[in-house]
Subunit: 282 residues, 2 copies
Amino acid sequence: MKVIHDAKELQQTALALRAQGKTIALVPTMGNLHAGHASLMDAARSRADVLIVSVFVNPTQFGPNEDYEKYPRTLDADCEVCRAHGVDILFSPAPATIYAPTFSTYVTESACSQGLCGRSRPTHFRGVCTIVNILFNLALPHVAVFGQKDAQQVAVLKRMVQDLHIPVEMAVAPIVRESDGLALSSRNQYLSPEERAVAPEIRAALREISEKIAAGTESAETLAEFFMNKLGANPLFEPEYIEIVDNATMLPLKKITRGNTLIAVAVRMTQSRTRLIDNIVA
Amino acid sequence: MKVIHDAKELQQTALALRAQGKTIALVPTMGNLHAGHASLMDAARSRADVLIVSVFVNPTQFGPNEDYEKYPRTLDADCEVCRAHGVDILFSPAPATIYAPTFSTYVTESACSQGLCGRSRPTHFRGVCTIVNILFNLALPHVAVFGQKDAQQVAVLKRMVQDLHIPVEMAVAPIVRESDGLALSSRNQYLSPEERAVAPEIRAALREISEKIAAGTESAETLAEFFMNKLGANPLFEPEYIEIVDNATMLPLKKITRGNTLIAVAVRMTQSRTRLIDNIVA
């Protein structure tokens, strides 16, 4: 496995690979790799000749009061995960390699990015679209793999790729969970032991919603109320939102339409202030 | 010469050309091609195996009260110009092929685009950055050629290419002028005969500024005043701006720094309301 830190070097390498007729798969990550990321690598590995994983804690997708500084950076361990999952190139740039001091260009998606996480994180998806655009221009992938865990990110990036006619196939891999149901996230390590013990209730509430839908409940309002009451009853949870939206447009639905409805939630844990997200497609 | 109307077909063609090891040059235009555009084609022709010219009157770079509807569309004549200048592929898409009804992604440059034309045309450069990004994703050029006539556009697009790490070489071709000095522009045909007769005075005033600089004038304010008074004396001219800026950043300079100073002007002609731009680098 080759580790590349320089942006131009990655681009030259990708151009040379393409000139040789090789296909490239990219898995963009912020590092601190866990089994969720590994599943993306495994999904990507079979789709192309060369697998590139980027590890970059992207400053432009963090808000001013978010956890950019304390976000876990564990490059040595990340290298091991990448090696174990057949990664060919690990791209780990310094922020200054990506963003020049005069940096002034952003890519903004203004429809799918407005609700859900976009409401409380107003510049988050601008940062995500911008860095993914940059990573696509550097790694020149034929296919990129993202996790369903960040369902809104998937919708925003798919829209960006469609709108800008970017020649990259977008693949999505399912959420990976702990055995108790908690969705894997680098932010789980911020949780206090008490928070960690109750955190699987987020997933459990989503499963109950699935069951209610299977049993015939159609009203988004009813399901949202159920979730807010269920989680709100425990002072360790501060539910930020539950949104029931069209899975492609992220526009709110009043009524569940089976197969195309995303139910996405964000919950603030009150001890550590950690923000967890999860979702199901009904 | 092949004429392509479909976006996907252009992208597939470009991917196939790259797979064959061919280099691609792109000249993006809004059509109504004149000798200025032809000079861009000639500059591009020698730089790559395959020359693609796009002809697309891009709706997103026109403001609500601008000339999008009446902008001249002359595809048959444009084909002849392209054929005569060795163009391999003419890309002429319908707007609906480029912009889906759900289109919601824009590329915005927020430093170089603020002054000069950006002041009176607040969404213009957002439209330019977005369409050029799209055209790059469709034509996949190694090099793209733009005209110095649109000096601010050049600065904005160079910044975009740098910031987003787009693997395209940016080439700039000099302004082409009528024998009386008027910079070629598709908008010159909007001019009344009286306006056309006096329009070369814009260029003449810029030349006088060059001479003043050569003779030692350093104050941007003095030069700007000279221009405003000179043009303002004729009621056919309504000078919109003269800006004396750093040629790369578009930031205002108080003092001329030889070799790196752009002197850019926009003038509204009062009979036809045509807006003309011109510039020199001092």
